[in-house]
Symmetry: C2
Subunit: 205 residues, 2 copies
Amino acid sequence: MNEIIWATPLYLFLKYCNESPLDKVILDCGAGGESPPLALFYQYGYKTNGIDISDKALEESHIFCTKNKFDLNIIKGDMREIPFEDESMSFVYSLDSIIFLSKAETRMAIKEIERVLRTDGLCFINFKSIDDEDYNKGEPMGNNEFKLEHEWTQGKMICSFYEDNEPNAYFNNFKILRKEKRVVDCFCTENGHRIGYIDYISRKK
Amino acid sequence: MNEIIWATPLYLFLKYCNESPLDKVILDCGAGGESPPLALFYQYGYKTNGIDISDKALEESHIFCTKNKFDLNIIKGDMREIPFEDESMSFVYSLDSIIFLSKAETRMAIKEIERVLRTDGLCFINFKSIDDEDYNKGEPMGNNEFKLEHEWTQGKMICSFYEDNEPNAYFNNFKILRKEKRVVDCFCTENGHRIGYIDYISRKK
C-alpha cells in the first residue's frame, strides 16, 4: 500500500471526486513542494495537472516525480491566470495555498478556478481562519490581510484571514456541498501551536 | 486502489500509526456497521481487532467481512470493559462512538483504552462538541449529557457534549499530540446540518 500523504484533508475530496460521474482530470493550484499531494490522485488513476508560481517548489516537485516515476505534470503557473482552457478540468483544488493571496487576488483566482471547471465540476479550497495563531501578526494590509514572515518562505508573504462565513461570498456560482472549520492544536513542540482553516467543497453550477 | 473509507479522519491517525515503531496491532472500540473503518488498517497490514456492543452493527460488519474476505476480528464487547489483555494493543481508536456514553462511562472507557495500550501506544478518540446541532436537544441527563432519538438507532441513546478543552482531563496519563476541533456544515439536504467534533490523538505515557 502507498504511504499516507501529509495533506489528509484531501482524502475526503478524493472521495467526492471518485463519486462524481465526470472524467478523472484534476488540477492542483499550488502543486509544488517536496511531497506533492497530486501523487494521491495519480495513484487513483487521475490525469493530474499542477501549477505553482515558486521555482523552488517546482524544482522540489520535479525531484519527487523523477524519484518516484510519477508523471504529475506540474508546471509553472499563476492561479490568478490559470494556463488551461475553459472547462478543461473536472476537479480543482487549492490546499494551504490560496491563503497567500490578498482577498482581491483570491476573488480572481476563484473566478479562474470556476472558468477552468466543467459544469458540475468540484473544487476544494481552504482559507485561514481568524482563529489561526498567525492572525493579527505581521504588517496589516487591509481587510484581515497581513504581511508575515514564514519559516519556509524567503521574505514576507501576504496571508489572508477569514471570519467563519466570509468565504461564502466567493462561491456564488457554486453550490457549497460542505464547509468544515478546523482548529488544530499541535503539540509537536513544547508550547504547541494553533492553526485554523476553513475548507470548502463546492460544485460548479 | 482501494475505496476511500467514509471515516476520513482516520487517515491522519493511520499516518501517526505508520510512523510509530510499535507492532501493527490495532483495536477499534465501536467497530461494527456496514462499512467498518478497520478495513483501512487491514489493507495497510495491521492485525485488526474490533469490539461492538450492538448485535445489529456486529451482523452488518460480519456481512462486510464475508463479502470482502477481510478477517477484521470484530467481536461482541463493551468498551467499558474491554475483553483484551493489559498492554496488548499498540493502537486503539474510537470514532463517533464514545460519544454515546455518559461522561462517567467515558472516563471508564478511556481507562480501559489506557489499560490495553502499550507504553507509547497511540489512541484516537473523538467527542461531540457543544457546537453540534444536537446539543441541548432531547432529555437533559446532567452535565451536557442528553438522551436523544437518533435516526439510525432504535430508541433513545445518551449523547455527551463537551466544551473545547473539557476532554483534556481524560488524558492525564497520556501525552496529547494533536487536538482538532471540527465544525462541519453539510449541505446534503436543503437546510443543511451542522456536526461538531473534537478529535484527540494521544500517546500513552
